[in-house]
C-alpha cells in the first residue's frame, strides 16, 4: 500500500507540471500575453510615464523573457527542491532573493560599445564585511539594496530611452517593419541594419536627418551602457552584502547548491499580496462548501437508491429516477440564479442572505448562538450555515442522480448474485437479505463514485461562488483571469489540481481499505 501511494504521488508531479505548463502557455499565447493587465495598469498616466512604469514592471517580473524561460523560473520557485543560492527571510516574513544579473541593453556590441560581452563584467566580490550589530548590518544591507534599486531603475530608463531612439530612427528612415504593434523596436531587424553595413549606408545616405537619428541611437546606447555599469557595480555590492547573510536563510540544505524549502507561490500582480495568503483564504471556503455537501449527497441518495432497487418498478422507483434525471439536467447556473431570485432576494421570499459567507459583523459574534443583552444572537456557526445553505443546495442536487443510480444498479446486481439466492434458500428473512447481504456488498462502488462527483463539484463551485459572491477559489480564479494575474492564476490551477488528484487518490485508498479483495501491491 505504502509503495502504491508513493508511486501515485510521484506520478502526480509530471501531471501537475503538465497542467501548469499548459495554463502558462495559454496565457503567454493570448493577445497581450502575460501580465496584460499590468501593462494597462497606468490608465490615467501620461504616455511617457506609462512606458516607464511598464519598463519597470517588465524588468521586475522578467516579462520580456521567452515564455518557457518564465515558466521554468516559476516552476523553480514552486519546487520544494531548489537549486542555487538560498533565499533570506526578513522579520516580516518576506523572502529576499539574491539580486538579478543586469543584462546588456539591446544591440550592445552591434550599434555601439563595440566588442562588449557579458564576460567583461567584473568578478563577484567576496562576502561584504557589514560589521557592527545585527541591526546595523541589516541597515547597511537595506541601504545597498536601495542603491541597487535606484541604479537598476536608471538603467531601465536608459534602456527605454534607447528603445525610443531606435523607434525614432526607424520612423525617420521609414522602416515600418522594424517597429512592432506595441511601438517597440524589433531588435532582430535593427541587427541587420547596424552601422557599417551596406544597408545602413544606403538608409543614411538618403536623408540627413537619418544620420542624426542614428547618432542619437548610439548616444542613447552609450548612456545605457554607462547606466548598466553603475547598475552592475551596485549589484555586486548588494550581492556581497547578500552573501554576508544579514537575515536568516530559508530552507534545509541537502548538498551544496541544493536545498529544500517551502514552495513560493509568488506575489499577486493585482493585489500586491503573497499568493499563498490569498489561496489560504479562498481554499478553505471552497473545501468547506464541498465538505458540507458530500454527506448530504450520500444521506439523500443512498437510501433513495436502495429503496428504488428494493421496490423495482414501483412508482417510487420511476418517480425518483425521473426527478433525479431532471435535477441532473438542471444547470447549476440556473439553479443558483433562481434560488437567489426567489429564495434570497428582496423581490422573492428574502429568507436567505444574498451574498457572502458571513454577516458583515460576524467577527463580533460568539461561536454558538446565545443571548446578548436579552437579544437572541445566532452566533458564528449558525450565521455561516445560514449563508452557506443556498450555495450548498446548488452543489448537492447534481450528485443525487449519479449516486442513487449507482446504488440502485449495484443493489440490483447483487440481488441476482448466487450468495443471495443461497441466503434466501436457507430461509434468511428478506429484510436481512437486503440490509445485511446485498446492501453491504453494494457499498463498495459507492466509494469510487466519490472520484466521479468530486471534480464536477469543484467545477460547480466556480459558478456558485460567483452567483452568491462567496470568496472561494472559483471567485479568485475569475478575478485572476480578468486581471490576467499570472501568479494567482497558476497557483489557483495548481492548488485545484492537487486537491483534485489527492481526492482521487483518497478514493482509491478507501476502496482498497473497504474491499479486502482489492490490493494495489
Amino acid at each position: 500500500m505504502f509503495s502504491y501511494v508513493t508511486r501515485r504521488l510521484l506520478i502526480m508531479i509530471p501531471t501537475v507540471v503538465g497542467i501548469t505548463f499548459l495554463v502558462f502557455m495559454l496565457i503567454a499565447l493570448s493577445p497581450g500575453g502575460i501580465g496584460a493587465s499590468l501593462r494597462q495598469a497606468g490608465g490615467q498616466m501620461e504616455a511617457s510615464q506609462r512606458a516607464l512604469q511598464e519598463a519597470y514592471l517588465e524588468d521586475r517580473y522578467g516579462l520580456n523573457d521567452p515564455p518557457p524561460v518564465q515558466f521554468l523560473r516559476w516552476a523553480a520557485r514552486i519546487s520544494p527542491i531548489k537549486f542555487g543560492d538560498r533565499d533570506l527571510r526578513d522579520d516580516s516574513g518576506l523572502l529576499i532573493r539574491p539580486p538579478k544579473d543586469v543584462k546588456l541593453p539591446p544591440l550592445a556590441g552591434v550599434w555601439y560599445a563595440d566588442d562588449v560581452t557579458r564576460e567583461d563584467d567584473p568578478p563577484r566580490l567576496p562576502p561584504a564585511e557589514l560589521g557592527g550589530t545585527q541591526a546595523e548590518q541589516r541597515l547597511a544591507y537595506r541601504q545597498r539594496s536601495q542603491a541597487y534599486a535606484r541604479a537598476r531603475g536608471q538603467f531601465v530608463e536608459a534602456r527605454l530611452a534607447l528603445e525610443e531612439a531606435l523607434v525614432a530612427f526607424a520612423t525617420t528612415v521609414g522602416l515600418d517593419a522594424a517597429i512592432d504593434n506595441n511601438e517597440k523596436p524589433v531588435i532582430k531587424a535593427f541587427r541587420r541594419i547596424a552601422p557599417g553595413t551596406p544597408r545602413f549606408n544606403e538608409l543614411v545616405a538618403a536623408d540627413e536627418r537619418a544620420l542624426a537619428a542614428s547618432e542619437a541611437v548610439v548616444d542613447a546606447g552609450n548612456a545605457a551602457m554607462e547606466a548598466r555599469s553603475r547598475a552592475v557595480e551596485a549589484q555586486r555590492e548588494l550581492r556581497a552584502a547578500f552573501d554576508a547573510q544579514p537575515y536568516e536563510q530559508v530552507g534545509i540544505p541537502i548538498v551544496p547548491g541544493v536545498h529544500l524549502s517551502a514552495p513560493d507561490l509568488g506575489e499577486s500582480f493585482s493585489r500586491r499580496r503573497p499568493v499563498s495568503d490569498l489561496i489560504g483564504e479562498a481554499l478553505p471556503v471552497t473545501l468547506m462548501l464541498n465538505l458540507i455537501a458530500f454527506p448530504i449527497i450520500y444521506i439523500v441518495a443512498v437510501p433513495c437508491g436502495m429503496l428504488a432497487a428494493v421496490r423495482r418498478g414501483s412508482w417510487f422507483d420511476v418517480l425518483s429516477g425521473l426527478l433525479f434525471i431532471g435535477l441532473w439536467s438542471l444547470p447549476r447556473v440556473s439553479a443558483g440564479i433562481l434560488l437567489l431570485g426567489y429564495a434570497a432576494s428582496d423581490d422573492g421570499l428574502g429568507w436567505f442572505p444574498v451574498k457572502g459567507l458571513h454577516a458583515p459583523d460576524a467577527d463580533t459574534f460568539t461561536f454558538l448562538p446565545h443571548q446578548v443583552d436579552g437579544q437572541w444572537q445566532r452566533g458564528y456557526l449558525l450565521d455561516t450555515l445560514w449563508h452557506a445553505a443556498l450555495p450548498v443546495l446548488c452543489l448537492v442536487y447534481f450528485g443525487f442522480a449519479v449516486l442513487s443510480k449507482q446504488t440502485r444498479a449495484a443493489m440490483l446486481e447483487n440481488f441476482t448474485a448466487d450468495y443471495v439466492r443461497t441466503a434466501k434458500a436457507k430461509g434468511v428473512a428478506p429484510n436481512d437479505v437486503t440490509t445485511r447481504h446485498v446492501f453491504r456488498n453494494s457499498l463498495l462502488p459507492l466509494i469510487t463514485i466519490f472520484a466521479t462527483i468530486f471534480p464536477t463539484m469543484l467545477s460547480g463551485s466556480v459558478v456558485i461562488e460567483r452567483i452568491f459572491s462567496v470568496p472561494g477559489m472559483g471567485n479568485l480564479l475569475i478575478e485572476a483571469i480578468a486581471l490576467r494575474d499570472r501568479e494567482l492564476l497558476l497557483a489557483n490551477v495548481l492548488m485545484i489540481s492537487i486537491v483534485n488528484l489527492l481526492a482521487l487518490l483518497l478514493a482509491d485508498i478507501l476502496y482498497a481499505l473497504a474491499d479486502p479483495r482489492v490490493s494495489y501491491e
Partner: protein, 559 residues
Amino acid sequence: MPNPTDQSETTISGIHAMRGGALTAPKGFWAGAWSQVLKRPGAVAGLIWFGFIALLAVYAPLIANGHPLLMRELDANGDVVATSSPLLEFLAPSQWVLLVAMTLLIPLVLLPISGTSRGQRAGAVIGATVQAFTILLAVSAIRAWLGRWGASDAEREFLGSDSAPAIVAATGAFIVSALFAFIPTIVRLAPRLAVVGVSGVVAGVIVAGTWSQPPETFQYEERELAGEIETVYTLVPWSPAQRPTDRSAAVLEPGATSAQALMNNVTIALPRGVPIDDASLALAARDIERLPLEGDAGTTLAGAFARQFPPSSGPTIDTVESWLMGQLAPFGTPYALGTDGLGQDVLSQMIHACRLSISIGVVSTSIAVLIGVTIGALMGYFGGWVDMALYRVVEIFMSVPVLFLLIVAAGVLPRSTYVMMAIIGCFTWHGAARFTRAEFYKLRGQDFVQSARAVGLPLRSILFRHMLPNGVTPVLVDASFAIAAAILFEATLSFLGLGPPDQASWGKLLAGATSEVGDFVPWLAIYPSLAIFLTVLSLTLIGEALRDAIDPKLKKARV
C-alpha cells in the same frame, strides 16, 4: 428499464421456421438500436425537442428578425414604387450557407436517389457545409490580410475595387475546394468532384454577394407610420441585437410594446408620487421632441404635449403616462417575453441562442471525438510506452476540473464562437480517448486485426477502416452526453461573461437576471433556464435510451 416480460419471444419451432415464420429481414446494428430508442417515450420526447431546437437554430433569422421579410415602398399616392426584402439583404454569409445546406438536407435525404444510400447523401451535404464554412473562413482571412495594418497601396486599392469581391471569393473558394477534393469523403471521384464543385460555387457566390453589407439600422416602424412603406414581418419582429434608439433602455416586462420603450424614455426622469412641476414638464417636452420619430412627428407630439399639460397644471405621472401611451399607441410591436437590460427582445435572443448552443454542442463534440478517437486508437493499438506517454497527457486533462481549464482558456483567448468550439473540443477529448483505448485494447488481439496486419495493410487502414467501426460504439453513445455537457459549458462560460460578445446566448441572458444591486428579473432567469434544462434533459434521455439499446450491461455506468 427493459422489463423481462416485455421481451418475451415466441418460441420458434422447426415447423415455424420451415414455413418462414421467423424469417424477417435482419436489421442492421444501428437500425436495431434506433428502433429500441424509439420505443421509449422519454427518448422520443427528447428527440422531438432537440429537433425543434435544431430547426429554430437553422431558421432563426427567418423566424426572428427586425428587418421586414417584404418591404413595399410607396409614393405619395400610395402606389407601390419598389419591392424589396431587407431581411435577405442583411443575412450574413454564414446564415446563407446554413439556410441553403439545411434546406437541401431534408429533401435530399428523404427523396430516393438511385445508387446512393441516405447516409451517403446526408454525409455529402454535411461535408459540403463544412467545406462552405471553410471557404467563408478562408475568404475572411484573405480579406483581413489584404486590409491588414501596413498593407501596401496596391493591396488597398485592389481591396477597394469593384472586382475585388469576385476575385477574392473565387480564389478562396477554389483553394479550399481543391483541398477538399483530395479528402476521400466519397470514394468515387466524379460524384465527389461534383459535390465539392457545387459547394465551392455556392459558397463563392454567397461570399461575393454579401461582400459589403451596410451597418444594420431598423427604421421601418417610423417610415411605415409616415406612410412611406408597407411591411410584412416574420413571426418575431425583432433582431436579437436590435436595441431601441432611445437613450434609456429599460428592462421591459413580457407583453410590453415598443410604445412602452418610447414612453419610458420620457417618463423615467419624471418625479413619482408628487404633481409634476413646470421644469420637469419642460424637460419631458424636450425628451418627446428628441424621440426617434420620423420627420417632425416628434415636434408635433411635443406641441400636443405642451397643450395637453400647460405650465402649472401639475399633472400626476399616471395621467402623463396614459396620455403618452395613447399618443404612442401606433408603435405597437410587442416584446413577447420582455426585454433585457439593453432593451433587446428576449424571445428573439432565445431563438437565435439555439444556434450558438447547438453549433457549439455539435462542433465541439465532433472535435473532441476526432482527437479522442485518434489518440485512444493509438494508445489501445500500440500499448507499451506509447500508451504510457499518451496516458500521461490524458491524465493531465483528467487531473483538473474541465471548467477551470475552460475558464482560463476562454478568458485569455479572443472571444469568438470558433475559439469557444475549439477550446471545448480540445479540453474534453479525454473521455472519448479512454473509451476508444479500452475497445482497441480488446480488439487488437482478435483474428481479423491479426489478419489485416498479416496481409500488410497500412496502419491507417487497420486502425480506422477495420478496427474503428468495431470499437466506436461507446464513443458515439457517449457523444449525446458530451453534447449536453458542451451546451452546459457554453451556457456557463457565457454566463461568466466569457462567451462570444456578438452572439445571443442563453447563458448571457441568465447573467442579466440578477444585478449587483440585488434586482431580480424573473423572465431573464426562467426562460433561458427552461431552454437549457429541456435541451440537456432531452439529450440525456436520448443518450440513456441509446446506451440501454446498445449495451444493456452498461446501464449503470453513468447518468
